[in-house]
C-alpha cells in the first residue's frame, strides 16, 4: 500500500472538513434567523437531521460493503463495513441525544414515539449489537463472515421495521417532530440547513476513510507479524 502520497491527503481533507464545519456552525448559530415559535432551541435542527443523514449513508456503506464481502471475500470490503458501522453509530448517537434535548423545552417531554425517532432507537441497538459481535468473535476469517451475514439481516429488517413502526404510531398519533421545519424553510434557514448537511456528510466521509485506512493498516500489521512468525526457527 502506497502510504506516502495517500497520507498527504489526510491533513488536507481534515482541514477542508473542519473549514466546512465552522462555516456551517456560523450559519447555524448566527447566520440563520431565530425561528418564530420555538426560539433558539430550534437551531438543534441543523445538527439533528444532518446527523441522521450521515448515519444513514454510513450504514448504507456498511450494507454495500457487507454484500461485497460476501461476494468476493475482500478484506477491503470488510474494513469499509466496520468503518461504516462505527461512524454511523456515532452519528446516530448524536441524533438520538439531540432529539430529546430539543423535545424537552418544546414539547415538555424527553421522548416521543415519533416513527423516525423510534426507528433510530431500533437501529441504534442493531448496530450496537453488530459491533459487539465483532468484538466477541475471534479474529481471522470468521469475524468478517458473521458480521457480514448480520449486516444483511439488518438490511432486510430495517424497511420492515419502518413499516411496522409507522403502522403502530399511526394508531397513536403524536406531534410531528419538526412541524413546519421541513417545508417552507426561510431562505437563510435553508442555506444553514444545506451547509450543515454538507458539513456532516464531509465529516462522515472523512471519518469513514480514516477508520477504513486504520483497519487496512491493522490487517497489514497482522500479516507482517504472521510472516515473521513463519520465518522463525
Amino acid at each position: 500500500m502506497n502510504t506516502s502520497t495517500r497520507t498527504a491527503w489526510i491533513p488536507l481533507a481534515g482541514a477542508g472538513t473542519l473549514a466546512l464545519l465552522l462555516v456551517a456552525l456560523w450559519w447555524a448559530l448566527i447566520g440563520a434567523p431565530t425561528e418564530a415559535t420555538m426560539g433558539t432551541v430550534q437551531r438543534i435542527f441543523y445538527y439533528h437531521a444532518p446527523a441522521a443523514l450521515a448515519a444513514w449513508v454510513a450504514f448504507g456503506l456498511n450494507a454495500l460493503a457487507s454484500l461485497a464481502y460476501l461476494a468476493k471475500r475482500s478484506m477491503r470490503a470488510d474494513a469499509l463495513a466496520v468503518a461504516g458501522a462505527e461512524v454511523g453509530l456515532a452519528f446516530l448517537t448524536i441524533n438520538l441525544i439531540t432529539g430529546p434535548i430539543w423535545a424537552r423545552p418544546v414539547w415538555g417531554v424527553w421522548w416521543v414515539w415519533d416513527p423516525r425517532l423510534t426507528l433510530t432507537l431500533a437501529m441504534w441497538v442493531m448496530y450496537g449489537s453488530y459491533l459487539i459481535l465483532r468484538q466477541l468473535t475471534p479474529e481471522g476469517g470468521l469475524q468478517p463472515r458473521l458480521a457480514a451475514a448480520l449486516a444483511i439481516f439488518f438490511a432486510a429488517d430495517i424497511p420492515i421495521d419502518y413499516m411496522a413502526i409507522r403502522w403502530w404510531r399511526g394508531q397513536h398519533p403524536s406531534p410531528v417532530l419538526f412541524g413546519g421545519a421541513d417545508s417552507g424553510l426561510a431562505p437563510r434557514m435553508l442555506v444553514a440547513f444545506l451547509l450543515s448537511m454538507a458539513a456532516f456528510l464531509a465529516l462522515m466521509g472523512f471519518l469513514v476513510w480514516l477508520r477504513y485506512r486504520q483497519e487496512l493498516l491493522r490487517g497489514a500489521i497482522t500479516q507482517l507479524k504472521q510472516q515473521r512468525a513463519l520465518a522463525e526457527a
Binding site: P138, E139, G140, G141, T222, K225, Q226, A229, L230, E232
Partner: protein, 220 residues
C-alpha cells in the same frame, strides 16, 4: 504413485501464534502415515485442518483431488478426534443412524451394521453412549468414521488411555483398513502401537514439518 492426500504450505495461526508453518507433503493411497511430534507441535491442528474442521490461514490441502473443507472432500474423510462426536444421551445405533443420514447413505441400516462389524462392536448397538467405557466409546466413534467408507481416515491419538487388549484390537483393525486400500494418518505418543503398522512417518516440531520418511514423497 498417485498422491491421494496433498498438503501445500499449509499454515495456521491462532492470533499471532503460528501453530502450523508451511507444512507440505503428499501421501498415496493405502499408506498408513504415523504423525509424530511433542505436545503442542501441531499434530491435532494438522489433523483438524485435513478433516475440514479448521480452516488453514495459508496454503492448500486436497483429499482425493478435492480441497479440504468441501463436501466432496468431507465425503471421503473420516475423523477420529478426542471427543467421540456421539451424543451421550442416544444409543450407539441412534447416533450412527443419524450420521448415516447426514452422509446421505443409500442404505443407512446396512451401513451402520457393517461399520459396527468392522470394529467388532456389534454388541454396542443398543447401549447408550454415555454409559460406555472409554474403549467402547472409541470403538463406536471409529464405527462412525467408517460409515461412509471413507478413503482417508485421520486418527488423533487413538491409543491414549486404552487397555492392552483394546489396543491390540484397534491395531488389527487399522492394519486391515490399510491393507484394504484406505489412507490413514495416525498421531500418537505411543511408538510401539504405531511404528510397525506405518508405511511412512511425518514429524512435526513447533508447527514445522521436520522430517518425512520412506514412501512419503519428499517435498522441500
Amino acid at each position: 504413485m498417485q498422491p491421494f492426500l496433498t498438503c501445500q504450505r499449509v499454515s495456521r495461526f491462532f492470533g499471532d501464534a503460528a501453530v502450523l508453518r508451511e507444512v507440505s507433503f503428499t501421501c498415496g493411497a493405502g499408506e498408513l502415515v504415523a504423525l509424530w511430534g511433542a505436545n503442542g507441535a501441531g499434530k491435532t491442528t494438522l489433523l483438524r485442518v485435513l478433516a475440514g474442521a479448521l480452516r488453514p490461514t495459508g496454503g492448500t490441502a486436497t483429499v482425493g483431488g478435492a480441497a479440504v473443507g468441501t463436501a466432496a472432500a468431507r465425503r471421503q474423510t473420516g475423523f477420529l478426534s478426542h471427543g467421540s462426536l456421539l451424543h451421550p444421551a442416544l444409543t450407539v445405533e441412534e447416533n450412527l443412524r443419524f450420521y448415516a443420514t447426514l452422509f446421505a447413505l443409500e442404505q443407512p441400516q446396512a451401513a451402520v451394521e457393517a461399520a459396527l462389524e468392522q470394529v467388532r462392536g456389534e454388541h454396542l448397538a443398543g447401549r447408550r453412549v454415555g454409559e460406555l467405557s472409554q474403549g467402547m466409546r472409541q470403538k463406536a466413534a471409529l464405527a462412525r468414521c467408517l460409515l461412509h467408507q471413507p478413503r482417508l481416515l485421520l486418527l488423533d491419538e487413538p491409543f491414549a488411555s486404552l487397555d492392552r487388549a483394546t489396543v491390540a484390537e484397534l491395531r488389527a483393525c487399522l492394519a486391515g483398513l490399510r491393507d484394504g486400500g484406505m489412507t490413514l494418518m495416525v498421531s500418537s505418543h505411543q511408538e510401539e502401537a504405531v511404528a510397525d503398522l506405518a508405511t511412512g512417518a511425518l514429524t512435526l516440531e513447533r508447527g514445522r514439518l521436520l522430517a518425512q520418511t520412506e514412501e512419503v514423497a519428499e517435498r522441500v
